[in-house]
Symmetry: C2
């Protein structure tokens, strides 16, 4: 059987995640993000299309690098307003059975003790469908939300993250033994205290002496997602991540990126196949190639360039308003965290912003179901990725059309599942157990 | 029309909240707390009974004062394991339309910027059904979860809480003006930046310079709950709370407590009726008084005394294992936060623990529907309270029976609603607007 494509929907609890301005499109309903019904309909659509998961990005801050103010982001609804991603998971899990939920949790903004509990609770409620996208934070505006003038320096953030992982692995994997919970009604013993252990962590950034508040959930540690592309970010992914999200500018560059990630995982004592690698992609599909191109042009016409400039200025940490729209700023990067997926030689500021309309910088595949399937299959074959992280364009029609038009085409080619596997998200993704494998560093925190 | 009784179910995302050991009862299903279905069935039952809300207690720590160890609490499942209360709200709101959700948020365990966002998100998702029970924390074990050896001193905790309120009121009430969100598709302006303001707080305990990440939710500030009974706690309630939860040991003591709270609210510039006061109560009902007494005896026989001792040792901050079971320890209190509701002169340790089986120290009303209604009406008349906070005994039958047997009796007497009012939780409770009234201190944070 050929390799099966894994699929995540790439979303955020906001109006404009990456496709700047498309909330203006007459058919777009992303403005309804505050309502439960919006998320439930989306979740049902994704589950109908056998998506593996929905990946909820998050930023706890405002894009205010551009023109030194949040005004452009507010006008364009570029990731502001932005609601909490955790709260919509129980909303969606209430109407689905298999869809996984990847949630972005930013390490600087919640202490590990409470965070570990929140994740365990969701893993219980969803019966093992939770993944955590580990983020170290990158906006100064977010740092100001917790009383710091600027964010912690990049490499230090990864040191903090590594220590945070020690604490949460201890809580998830080491605190309660598998057979600690007895529920012995006769003897009046719910849990055997000799099998519940305190985590005693005296680190540089975290101190904690506590037992985990939650009994073991189906997966214990959530499926670990990671998206950082810096050398430190890649090393972190190689050590910890089970799913890695990458940009994808060309087959060759992506293949090299994937090879590098797998080699680093092996060097870290894991197996190459322990990483499932998802390339960010956007798809505009219609019955014919010509109709799809027309649709793309229609979508593009609703774009808001200033939203794109706010976004990319925040990502790069450089205020692009200092350049003319038709000037090429070169590869200016401050504390860049995320590159554009589309390769253009020395683009102008205008081209950079236009690139952040449909798909928000993701590679955009435009065409008939057959063309889209060809392209997706081509990426799989050429790069050794495992699947795609599909950014939304006009919501929800982009996912509805993908499910109606592209999924059957992929299934007909034998490169996409025709039903869900049973069990937890980890079991579905890796075809093995519910828990992290012995090759993962979390294994070291288990009681022997 | 006589005063209408308000009702909250008093619960917690755990097995044994207050009624120690009743998970052992053959009909009890509290062990299913990890599942979504459990909470959805409970929410449906409460909404069928026109309950105003479910109040979710929370403790981010372990009861380890008794015998200096968490062992007794673990054996008895006394508030451990305990899952996150926030996560089950979207689970329950997905299947209800009117039920309110009061959630305990402990100030030491989440920074105000992220917390304010979580609450706003839930207020959006539930269409204005959120209340926040403000807690300042009381267990040393919780403090150790965030790296401190002991908790912050009691009075200082209230200073910190007062400053925390300044920050969150600023975010909820002051950051976005009512007409900031335009959604002007034509002009490409989602929000008017001139109507979105940064909150700039430079305080002793919190520093923040940020705009609120969320657009205005139906209630903006959640309905504010408070349960502290110390002088500082009462002063805090008088200043901030809209709903106050109190123990209720006797008519006379409760009437005095209620009078004192209302007087303090008036002294703080608010109106006596701005406080809705709920007395903690447990009810064991059956067709006849005799059958109810028999049921109470049956329930009581499943109690676990050591769970009660763990609980009360934690509340008092005093290890009761130093006394004989039949010794009266007197009024020993360390950092006590919560007293028993039932008045007994100089009880022994055994009596204290037995009192923490059915209803967990709440006054227990045992009888036929008519007897229970007489008692509830008697409390309302004698004490000027507004309603009850009903602790669970055997779950879910205690609420199912209350809804089936007691609610119709109260309705027949004209002292309980026969349908929900429309609108947000605040509008339902106070019959006025969706937002905090001008007499509340949060009003000072609004843009003029």
């Amino acid at each position: 059987m050929p390799k099966q494509i894994l699929l995540n929907a790439f979303s955020m609890n906001c109006v404009g995640h990456q496709s700047n301005g498309l909330w203006r499109h007459p058919r777009d309903r992303s403005r309804e993000y505050t309502s439960a019904r919006h998320w439930q309909e989306l979740a049902r659509t994704l589950e109908r299309g056998l998506f593996d998961g929905i990946f909820l990005a998050d930023v706890t801050g405002v894009y205010d690098v551009y023109e030194g103010s949040p005004d452009a982001a507010l006008r364009a609804a570029t990731q502001i307003p932005a609601n909490d991603p955790f709260s919509i998971i129980p909303t969606m899990s209430a109407v689905t059975e298999h869809l996984g939920f990847g949630v972005t949790g930013s390490i600087p903004y919640e202490p590990p003790y409470a965070f570990a509990r929140r994740i365990s609770t969701l893993d219980h409620l969803t019966e093992g469908r939770i993944a955590w996208n580990v983020v170290t934070g990158y906006l100064d505006s977010a740092a100001r939300g917790v009383g710091k003038a600027v964010q912690t320096e990049h490499d230090t953030r990864y040191e903090i993250a590594a220590e945070y992982m020690e604490v949460v692995y201890g809580l998830w994997e080491g605190s309660w033994e598998d057979d600690a919970v007895l529920v012995d009604r006769e003897a009046g013993v719910f849990a055997d205290p000799s099998k519940v252990h305190g985590v005693n962590h005296e680190g540089e950034y975290f101190q904690l002496k506590a037992i985990h508040l939650c009994e073991p959930s189906p997966q214990r540690s959530p499926v670990i997602f990671q998206a950082g592309s810096s050398p430190k970010g890649q090393a972190f992914a190689a050590a910890h991540a089970e799913c890695v999200f990458i940009g994808a500018s060309s087959h060759a560059a992506t293949a090299a990126h994937v090879r590098g990630l797998r080699e680093q995982a092996v060097a870290a004592g894991r197996r190459a196949e322990d990483l499932k690698i998802f390339a960010m992609m956007a798809v505009v599909v219609a019955e014919t190639d010509a109709a799809a191109q027309e649709k793309f042009g229609d979508y593009q016409s609703y774009g808001l360039l200033e939203g794109g400039l706010a976004l990319t200025s925040g990502w790069r940490g450089v205020d692009l308003s200092q350049f003319d729209l038709d000037e090429a700023p070169g590869d200016v990067r401050g504390n860049a965290i995320q590159g554009s997926g589309r390769a253009t030689e020395s683009p102008t500021v205008r081209e950079i912003a236009e690139n952040l309309v449909v798909g928000g910088g993701a590679n955009v595949i435009i065409g008939s179901p057959s063309t889209v399937a060809d392209e997706l299959a081509g990426w799989m074959e050429a790069t050794d990725i495992d699947g795609f992280n599909l950014a939304y364009t006009v919501l929800p029609e982009c996912y509805e059309e993908f499910v109606e038009l592209v999924v059957p085409e992929l299934q007909a080619r034998g490169i996409y599942k025709t039903g869900y596997a049973e069990g937890t998200l980890r079991r579905k993704l890796f075809g093995a157990g519910d828990r992290l494998p012995a090759s993962h560093p979390a294994d070291g925190y288990r009681q022997r």
